[in-house]
Amino acid sequence: MGSGRLYLAVAVGGFRRYATYRAATAAGVFTNTAFGLILVSTYLALWEARPGLGGYEQAQAVTYVWLGQALFAALAVQGGGFETELMERIRTGEVAIDLYRPADLQLWWLANDLGRSLFQLLGRGVVPFAFGVLVFPVALPRDALTWLAFLVAVVLATVVSFAIRYLVALSAFWLLDGTGVLQIMMVAGLFCSGMLLPLNVFPGTLGEVVRVLPWASLVQGPADVLLGEAGTLSTYLLQGGWAVALLAAGRLLQSAATRRVVVQGG
């Protein structure tokens, strides 16, 4: 399949591109480890005081922290993927170059972002996770199938994350300055993905709402699968549902943007 090879090449490019910046990767690893340590001490105290909070044992809670740190960059929980670049390209009119190419804009950036995600999972995720596992008491599954199911959930999470950020990026066709949308995305990503605190812990209606929002697919989804706290299938359903809905919305927005495109500048 010709176009399959194109998007594979784009994904490889995305991977290699992030692999270029070794210092940034090292700094990222350090940051995620440091944040993990801060969160873990908070969680240890919290689960000491309230054992079984959110249905998690203390070891599960600790695992959850390191999982979050490992996935933080790969899932671009707070952004930091292609979206700022695409917004800049839209703002400067460089998106014109992307539009005359015989490639689909959404698939192009999806492939690119999957490549980035894979690199960041390996480059920025593995070390903090290994550190956490070695230093703290954790609860990890022993069978390979659960790990495989977890990886599938991570892939789905990446796609949902991409779909959200694609919508955010395309807003630049209408907004001349996307800083506000990016900031909303950052806060929502941090809070609603379960990055700071597992969504299981959120009380009442807030918890019920947050657990079905698209961001629940990010950190909470894969964590639930790995920790065996939620059904794998129901997690996949939530993730898959959001992925399809948001990608379709992105496609709609893309054709609207292309139709009314008045490429700026130039």
Partner: protein
């Protein structure tokens, strides 16, 4: 205008016009602030009833001041913008309707933008182009080798694009636009910001490309030398209208463009008694400025001055396109349309 270099009409070229514009218009709605929460709509005609044809294998300069509608035209020709009116065909294809199909037949280079992958070695961008345009492997390798040779890219393939100089990047971009054997190449300011050596390389390459493959080239530029050295035909656009279409020499006549000869003498002297039609327009100490029509050679004037005056140094300044066009625009109102051919 076609000097016969074009080989045949091309597939689906639609007669002899490979690129055909028939009364093409582009109107933008611009909203302006007119007080608190009030917006005024204003229609801006970026391209106004533009008609021209370019034959297969022609190399045409497309010039005009900033905001004249050059880029808008190019964007319509690539299918990025949809015309508000008129008919437009490139290689028999309606660009905005079949953008993707057209993309395989055209190459675009924007001097101030890059299609290359910024953080990665140059070769990675080419591999991407290979896949994107589904270029057969053998053809890709052949074209790449040729580009590397002609554009002197050998040492640059493994260098990340962000580390390339502007001239190197430009050459890299041109190669990227040509790997899929496009029939048309749009060049938007391909020599902007380049040094003399790089400019020469780029121009030599384009001349060869056009001669060898009969690639149709549409070139927008502010650099008259690009046109002089590459294009037998030039089109001038201003305010979205075609002001002139013909050879470059004719443009200078139509616009009454003047070159300036700057002469440094040994000492302060009264204005030089210059051979007609040159005349002194300015004197400042030992330096004098002489103007003469752009269609004339500077050699006899220089020879005369050198023979009769203590000449230390001199330089010739070409008229800039903006000035020529401004004159043309002003003169046009009172004169009949002199546009050729």
């Amino acid at each position: 205008m076609d000097d016969g270099r074009g080989r045949g009409g091309g597939s689906g070229g639609g007669g002899d016009g490979f690129i055909t514009l028939d009364r093409v218009e582009k109107v933008f709605d611009v909203r302006r602030k007119a007080g608190f929460l009030k917006r005024e709509r204003q229609r801006v005609r970026a391209v106004d009833s533009l008609s021209f044809t370019v034959a297969r294998g022609e190399m045409v300069g497309y010039i005009g001041p900033n905001g004249a509608g050059k880029s808008t035209t190019i964007k319509m020709l690539t299918g990025i913008l949809t015309p508000s009116g008129g008919r437009l065909r490139v290689a028999g294809i309606d660009p905005s309707r079949e953008r993707t199909r057209l993309a395989h037949r055209i190459g675009v280079v924007f001097g101030q933008r890059t299609t290359l992958w910024w953080d990665l070695p140059l070769i990675d961008s080419y591999r991407l182009v290979h896949r994107m345009y589904r270029i057969p492997d053998a053809r890709y390798r052949e074209n790449l080798d040729r580009m590397v040779e002609l554009l002197d890219l050998g040492d640059l393939l493994d260098v990340p694009v962000r580390q390339l100089s502007l001239g190197q990047r430009m050459r890299g971009d041109i190669a990227a636009a040509l790997l899929h054997d496009p029939q048309v190449l749009y060049l938007d300011e391909p020599t902007i910001g380049l040094d003399v050596v790089s400019k020469t390389k780029v121009r030599a390459f384009l001349r060869e490309l056009n001669a060898e493959r009969a690639t149709t080239v549409l070139l927008t530029t502010h650099d008259l030398q690009d046109i002089e050295q590459l294009c037998s035909r030039v089109m001038v656009i201003d305010h979205g209208r075609l002001m002139y279409d013909g050879p470059l020499a004719g443009l200078h006549e139509a616009g009454e463009g003047e070159r300036t000869l700057v002469v440094d003498l040994e000492r302060e002297l009264p204005p030089i008694d210059a051979p007609a039609p040159a005349r002194v327009v300015r004197v400042e100490g030992a330096r004098q400025w002489l103007a003469f029509p752009a269609s004339r050679s500077a050699a006899p004037i220089v020879a005369r001055i050198a023979a009769e005056y203590p000449l230390v140094d001199l330089s010739v300044r070409e008229p800039d396109i903006e000035a020529v066009i401004a004159k043309m625009y002003a003169g046009r109102a009172g004169r009949a349309d002199r546009a050729a051919p």
